[in-house]
Symmetry: C2
Subunit: 364 residues, 2 copies
């Protein structure tokens, strides 16, 4: 994550991740979920904050989930069911359950199918927010699979050349295991930035960079610009056509097709109101053993990741990273030294403590 999105040192309070997990779980139980569903959600959110993916951790998402449970937009006791199934595929109707609660179970179905027929794909319609999609890809990677996950919903992103938004930020993730190196884990919006970056930037007082959003007429804004009211119209990955936004546009559509259309649902752009058709998710697991020797694969991953890490950096950079490496390092640091939360977020948690009677966060 770029420095501009991080909590400034002066505003940060470090809390224990065990305490964070306990509080999140208590909040979900208060929202009416089962104990086990609350644990699922706490696992996802805590790991997301441990890995430094602050867009999708408690500071943005726990509040959103509370609002969605309170308003009735999501269902705390979803009776999800498989609507269509083949040996390698399944389509789940989530009954408006949150993805953070149901996602691991969907990926487990994909993994079981992959063990039998080499590859498993599970799509989910009528769902709620999934959290950080990388979490579920990583779940598959831990079982010697290549995991992929994506999610589609809403309309905040412009097609190339367009003045009207048509896509969600449609993130995609992929994870693959190694032996000694931190696992490969790529997780990114196919728009220029994730929607939650607006909230982070506003909280920490940063401007947006050139080529991230468009003005009201659809012109890409090519200088630094303050965070607009609400969410602003995001540009596809690439930014401008000359810089490859037609590729981001194609990837946005790919996620709408794999997650939305192949779950028997519709793209977010069909909704007359935001999220009317729900969030749509895609979970896939490739059983490495079906393709090649697992030990050899992981040795090759080690060698590839080490090669990347040891690649000579360009001027002005200390080293070359790879997707998953900084998040792995962040996790080690945060497990030892606590999860940094903005003082504004700490205050909000204190409010929860008073309102809901959930435990207090313990500082590290």
């Amino acid at each position: 994550m770029l420095e501009r999105f991080k909590v400034p040192k002066k505003d940060e309070v470090r809390v224990s991740h065990e305490s964070l997990h306990e509080v999140i779980k208590a909040v979900f139980v208060k929202m009416g979920t089962s104990e086990s569903d609350a644990t699922e959600a706490a696992d996802v959110l805590t790991m997301t904050d441990l890995r430094g993916v602050e867009t999708h951790g408690v500071s943005n998402m726990l509040r959103a989930y509370i609002n969605q449970y309170t308003s009735g937009q999501v269902n705390p006791r979803p009776e999800w069911k498989i609507e269509r199934e083949t040996p390698g595929t399944a389509v789940i109707n989530a009954d408006r359950g949150l993805g953070v609660v149901l996602g691991r179970r969907a990926m487990d179905i994909a993994i079981e199918k992959a063990k039998k027929v080499g590859f498993g794909v599970v799509t989910m319609n009528n769902g709620g927010h999934l959290g950080a999609v990388g979490h579920f890809s990583m779940h598959a990677a831990k079982q010697d699979m290549v995991g992929m996950c994506a999610t589609a919903a809403g309309t905040g992103v412009l097609p190339t050349f367009a003045a009207e938004p048509r896509f969600g930020t449609n993130p995609i993730s992929i994870a693959a295991p190694a032996n000694d190196e931190a696992a490969f884990l790529f997780d990114a919006a196919t728009s220029q930035i994730a929607g939650n970056k607006f909230t982070l930037a506003r909280r920490v007082g940063s401007d947006l960079l050139p080529g991230w959003i468009a003005d009201a007429a659809g012109n890409p804004i090519m200088e630094e610009t303050p965070v607009p009211e609400g969410y602003g119209d995001l540009l596809p990955l690439g930014g401008t056509r000359e810089n490859g936004s037609h590729k981001g546009y194609g990837l946005l559509m790919m996620v709408d097709i794999l997650g939305g259309m192949l779950s028997g649902s519709v793209p977010g752009m069909f909704d007359s109101e935001y999220f009317e058709s729900g969030y749509k998710h895609y979970f896939a697991a490739y059983n490495i053993d079906a393709f090649t020797d697992v030990g050899g694969f992981k040795n090759n991953m080690d060698q590839m990741l080490r090669t990347l890490r040891e690649t000579r950096p360009a001027p002005g950079h200390d080293r070359v990273l790879y997707p998953g490496l900084p998040e792995h390092e962040e996790e080690q640091d945060r497990r030892a030294n606590g999860v940094p939360l903005h003082t504004e977020v700490i205050e909000w948690f204190k409010g929860l403590e008073n309102e809901m009677g959930v435990p207090a966060l313990i500082r590290k």
Copy 2:
């Protein structure tokens, strides 16, 4: 394709696509392939030029293939075989056969598996160049599948922050069928531009745009710049870190993993010489019927594609396109009015006619 890459009107000669197909087929037979393999290759290259994907049509690739057959780098009579197989997956050793010859057959295996278990994925190691990856995704879409195809090879693209290249241009494609609208077909390098764009730009005398390549030290070149000698070090999709190149970097790795590692091969970065481990390919077919009603899916595709096409454009643009639409329109035009080739390419074909005794191209 940006205007800067197109053959200038003053330099263009239009030839009949039937004649182009005949000449390509004759060239492949002269290279020692079977009649049916020559037809496969002519199908791919002719359709690629009909769709206006000039990077991967005859002007660049037919020459390259002749060089590769002549040098012995590729095998005109490959004895390809399935090395590992499950109900949903297969790994093929291409025996150094060209992908343009074997790709359709690999996708057919994926399609047959998808009919049985909902999804089929075929990877191919030890291969030759695949041509335009979108061709094979489209082959699946024509059979009511969502098709995906990707290819990995070589080392011409820099990781984010790096001074040494580590990836091929690793293109990815996806296609999905509609009823009335032109099918969705996305096909793009996960680097800023395809490697063959260097050749096109050099031929038509265009400079490269800011953020496409780096200088020798690894600094992104942020102004227009002449095409460098050879191929230059390409930046990942996004260009700079601030503009999202870490996302292009993740996608580059995704293709190396899906195509290279899951074919039991290695990433191109392991090769001590260029393409030593061959090209590695990925073919996937999702049977739409396994996920949802095919008729409903195609109706939804029509509605999505029409919605995009009719979206209000930003200032300075006539209309909003979607991936596959301009290529479809180009195909209609070129079928009627011929395929435009640069006079330099026409001269080269005349040379072939003299050297090999293949038929002359017929002008349209």
